[in-house]
């Protein structure tokens, strides 16, 4: 069947098998070996490009049972296909929240480990895998191995951020975070340019959550015109699960509409709120963390050709000016989405391929059009030249040599994969492109 990631580019013809029981995963792996089939694990397909695409895809999204929960410590054990939404729905009423969450709830625990996802709290709390006590993984040696930072640390560090290339994650133990309320206190602050924004990030480094929307069309003195949004969990209020989304985007949607929607949202916030700083507003966790989840299938907004998202990070040591230059190049190209998301990262961890590292990250969409691939290649060069890297879970086009420059630990990663029999057993359309066979 035709399968694609969230960006709807590329589309590949894949044979998809759902696993619902652990026993069938093992059987599947053995069958694949005898038929010499290479497997690609997949969760909810929220990676943008080709990370979860391949000839033989193993769909984990129905392998989604909760196994154990300790109400004192907040340690949850669950199957890898459990979605973050499911976890929130069950545990918010009990006073627990995700320790780290990406910008959508429709992500599985397995996918979150494989991409070592980050949230708006990375500057203080790090990324998802840092809250994984342990996981069990089915490796190319046909065994189920228990893994943690202490037990088989090599396999742990290769699997967290390892894009599903070390084996099939079956179950995981995740430390939830206690909350007193499901509400978020949110404050937005205007910044006139990039330098101001970065100063504001530094000033508010203690804010538990922070992220900025930045206008990518403005150049010159106003380059980096943006709104910084700070957030924290309220100390009182309800512990209430937010209702489900209603709006669905029709199949073929004129591509420009997303830009119009975001432009008007930004302008409303930017121009029509006169004070530079707004007083804290109380809102449910859902509009704060998952604003786009209320539009089902919003990825269709870019129309038939799909889109690519480009997310890169620049180390702090390279200076804000290198970020300025890249935004200038994007603005000059006129191809990027109007809005981009910028945030600061705290120190990275020691996983082989995890994306975050101390510095800044910017993410924006490019509709799949002529010239986009060439532009992104040029941006890669700029990013790599200052010691930055590109986020694999958003990627659909990075070149193998650029990958190796961006992720110098790739050789260590490959050595670990070899030790656990992953070569020729687990790969994806992306990994083959990047030279990870």
């Amino acid at each position: 069947m035709n399968l694609h990631g969230w960006g709807r580019y590329p589309i590949v013809d894949a044979q998809v098998t759902q696993v619902q029981r652990e026993a069938s995963a093992l059987q599947l792996l053995e069958n694949a070996q005898s038929k010499q089939q290479v497997l690609t694990p997949r969760g909810l397909g929220r990676s943008y490009g080709d990370s979860s695409l391949g000839d033989h895809v193993i769909d984990f999204s129905l392998q989604n049972r909760l196994i154990n929960f300790n109400q004192e410590s907040g340690l949850l054990e669950c199957e890898a296909g459990t979605s973050l939404r499911d976890i929130l729905n069950v545990f918010i009423p009990k006073g627990w929240f995700l320790p780290v969450t990406p910008g959508t709830q429709f992500v599985t625990v397995g996918g979150a480990i494989a991409s070592d996802v980050h949230g708006k709290n990375h500057h203080l709390d790090g990324s998802f895998s840092q809250y994984i006590e342990s996981f069990r993984i089915l490796t190319g040696t046909n065994e189920v191995l228990e893994c943690s930072a202490d037990q088989r640390p090599d396999l742990f560090r290769a699997t967290c951020g390892g894009m599903g290339l070390t084996g099939l994650i079956l179950t995981a133990k995740l430390r939830l975070r206690p909350i007193k309320s499901s509400d978020i206190l949110c404050r937005s602050i205007r910044a006139e340019n990039l330098e101001q924004l970065i100063a504001l990030f530094d000033e508010h480094v203690d804010s538990p959550y922070s992220v900025a929307w930045i206008d990518c069309l403005k150049g010159g003195a106003h380059l980096g015109r943006s709104i910084l949004m700070l957030g924290e969990h309220a100390e009182d209020g309800p512990l209430q699960v937010a209702g489900d989304a209603g709006l669905t985007i029709p199949k073929l949607f004129p591509g420009e509409l997303l830009n119009h929607t975001t432009i008007s949202a930004f302008n409303t916030l930017y121009y029509h709120r006169s004070p530079k700083t707004m007083a804290a507003q109380r809102m449910s966790y859902r509009p704060y963390f998952y604003p786009l989840d209320s539009l089902n299938d919003w990825n269709r907004m870019y129309g038939r050709k799909g889109f690519v998202q480009y997310q890169f990070m620049i180390p702090k040591t390279s200076g804000a000016n290198s970020m300025r230059k890249i935004i200038e190049a994007i603005a000059a190209s006129g191809k990027g989405s109007f809005l981009a998301v910028l945030k600061t990262f705290g120190p990275g961890n020691n996983n082989d391929l995890s994306f975050p590292g101390e510095g800044w990250t910017l993410a924006l969409d490019f509709r799949f059009d002529d010239g986009v691939l060439e532009l992104l290649d040029r941006l890669d060069e700029m990013v790599l030249d200052v010691g930055g890297r590109v986020y694999l879970t958003k990627d659909a086009r990075l070149k193998a040599q650029s990958f190796r420059r961006a992720y110098p630990n790739w050789e260590k990663f490959e050595a670990t994969r070899a030790r656990y029999g992953a070569h020729g057993r687990f790969a994806s359309a992306q990994s083959l492109r990047l030279g990870l066979l």
Binding site: T17, Q20, R21, A23, R65, L66, I67, N68
Partner: protein, 245 residues
């Protein structure tokens, strides 16, 4: 809190339905063949809020065990408010055509075992003068089609059985709900190409629980299947025999 027995509890539709029950704090007994998977599901349901979730090993084709299994479930729950019969197998039509012993096996799994279980459950509920029996049939039972008439026959037999049983139990305050799903994306239909008519088990589950709440008699899930089947049932026979559906 309702006391609920689910037979064929490892089914994807049954599991999704059990999660809706669990979130409401109901007490559950899960009966089925794969005991390892049943206890995985039971643990999950307890975390999701089920007042209790016990497992019970039962092969639906082991008719001799029906009485004792239902007794055991009732003991676990301290009574019985709802029983959901969900087990089933999608028969391989062409194999059944070549070898009737296979067809017989399919009829046992999909019809006779259901009737046997319903008989035991009905007698108990009639005696207690309360309760609901819910059975998963199928739109396939609405008309015999060349592509799957053995499976369709079994589901049709269950439908007729339920109709009679419903009338028998009506004055005893017991409801019989027949659920007729259309195409549902579950392991049973893993080999099928999916299209816009396909539904997820979660949706079917919500519709089942809603129908139980209003003590409905027959539901098509999702409801647009009522219309599709109305059209299919009304195709004149001379045309129907040529359609090769």
């Amino acid at each position: 809190m309702k006391r609920i027995l689910i037979i064929g509890a490892t089914s994807a539709i049954a599991e999704a339905t059990a999660r809706v029950f669990a979130a409401r704090g109901d007490a559950l007994v899960l009966a089925g063949r794969d005991t390892q998977q049943l206890s995985r599901i039971a643990d999950d349901l307890k975390i999701r809020g089920a007042a209790q979730a016990n497992t019970l090993e039962l092969d639906a084709n082991d008719f001799a065990k029906h009485e004792s299994a239902i007794q055991q479930a009732t003991d676990h729950l301290g009574g019985l408010d709802i029983a959901l019969i969900a087990h089933g197998t999608l028969s391989n039509q062409s194999d059944c055509e070549k070898d009737f012993s296979l067809a017989l096996k399919e009829l046992n799994s999909n019809a006779i075992s259901v009737m046997s279980l319903l008989t035991v459950l009905a007698n108990r509920m009639q005696a207690q003068k309360s309760g609901q029996l819910a059975v998963i049939g199928s739109v396939a039972g609405d008309r015999g089609r060349p592509s799957n008439y053995v499976y369709g026959t079994a589901k049709a037999a269950v439908a007729t059985f339920c109709e009679g049983l419903r009338a028998r139990l009506y004055s005893h305050n017991v409801n019989v709900l027949l659920i007729k799903p259309g195409f549902v994306d579950t392991p049973m239909t893993a080999a099928f190409k999916k299209g816009p008519l396909w539904a997820k088990p979660d949706l079917i589950a919500k519709l089942i629980v809603r129908a139980l709440d209003r003590r409905a008699a027959i539901i098509y899930t999702p409801s647009f299947w009522a219309l599709i089947m109305l059209i299919i049932r009304s195709i004149p026979r001379p045309i129907f025999v040529r359609l090769k559906l």
